[in-house]
Symmetry: C2
Subunit: 236 residues, 2 copies
Amino acid sequence: MNLILLHDSDFISSSTAVLKDRRFHHIRTVQQPVAGDQLKVGRINGKLGTGLVLEITDNQIRLEVRCNTTPPPPLPLTLILALPRPKMLKRILQTCATMGVKQLYLINSYRVDKSYWSSPVLTRQIEEHLMLGLEQAGDTLMPEVHLRKRFKPFVEDELPGLADGSSALLAHPYEASPCPAPQMRPTTLVVGPEGGFIPYEVDKLNMCGFTTIHIGERILRVETAIPALLSRLFPL
Amino acid sequence: MNLILLHDSDFISSSTAVLKDRRFHHIRTVQQPVAGDQLKVGRINGKLGTGLVLEITDNQIRLEVRCNTTPPPPLPLTLILALPRPKMLKRILQTCATMGVKQLYLINSYRVDKSYWSSPVLTRQIEEHLMLGLEQAGDTLMPEVHLRKRFKPFVEDELPGLADGSSALLAHPYEASPCPAPQMRPTTLVVGPEGGFIPYEVDKLNMCGFTTIHIGERILRVETAIPALLSRLFPL
């Protein structure tokens, strides 16, 4: 936790916040501050700043909060990802939030197991894992996650509008061009499931204007491919 | 499993291999081949090729093996990593093997918990996780993993020799230069623990000739930083 993220509901006055939950226990056990110490805080979807410790007890911490610093810039990216299995989804949500992805579409594909769509990670824990990712990065801007359970209508009806005016890339290791050089331009990136998109799906995406790219001959797991792709597509 | 990795001990003659373990069960359940099918195989520390299915029963598979293809080239990298916590170590071993790391040093640091050194992952499961990583990548060349439980003697006595003639880089997000552009040159990369190296350790590494580099203002978890760093340091 490199940043303590604050909800509006944590505030008892315009500049005083009280924490009692996971964040409090982390602060108390790991950071162990005393009254008068300053902690790095941020307001969700707001600015970064400091929390002056007014009081810390066995049950809660009270902070005087001042936030004036702009969070790190988001990636100009819409990431479209075949829904991963739940355990991997947790880490991928964290990674996406940490690396600055702000628009994430989780879509269906032939090789996505149907059971993944009813996983508790997807139905109840998305925000929790995004928060962990933002806390890691020192960012406040909550990513938006969109679920699309039908591949064909999504690709035919919605994707052309999403990708309009952006560099439209499909990461797929076969019959692909090398990943383009880092550039901070609007990008729509599609990443398939473990085992890859089936040829029908690749065709549909190509027909929608997506260029197939690879990042080398080694086949990466999805959770490894995402940081590798983002690190290569966007400059520091 | 994008590749079936074969040990010498799997062979009952110069070109016939029999599998009964995890690999057999995976082949049987996932790939479901019949006699006459060809599977992608590789010999550990040897070449890639095909395994012609001679027979598949409820207990084993018998393959006629021909291997003539060179595996993907390794990264010209020595990766030196503060020992991660066991759960993360599993994934990191897989990621390193998948991405082509062949020399991995796991070292101690102030922020490495002592208990990590007695984890079963470290004492008994290293090869298992490296195999999973190679199977994912379609590579045969087993990485070498070296354990160094004392930071100071390692950095003072061994590291200068390891880094000699290579680009010596320390990934550390503070007081750092941007990561250099991708280039296929010999590199020694040091990555710290969660929470980072302490100033004394950074000083020791800088004194040993290591340049501090970063990959942006966002602080990444170690398991995310590794693919991001490797993808940025080396061309496709």
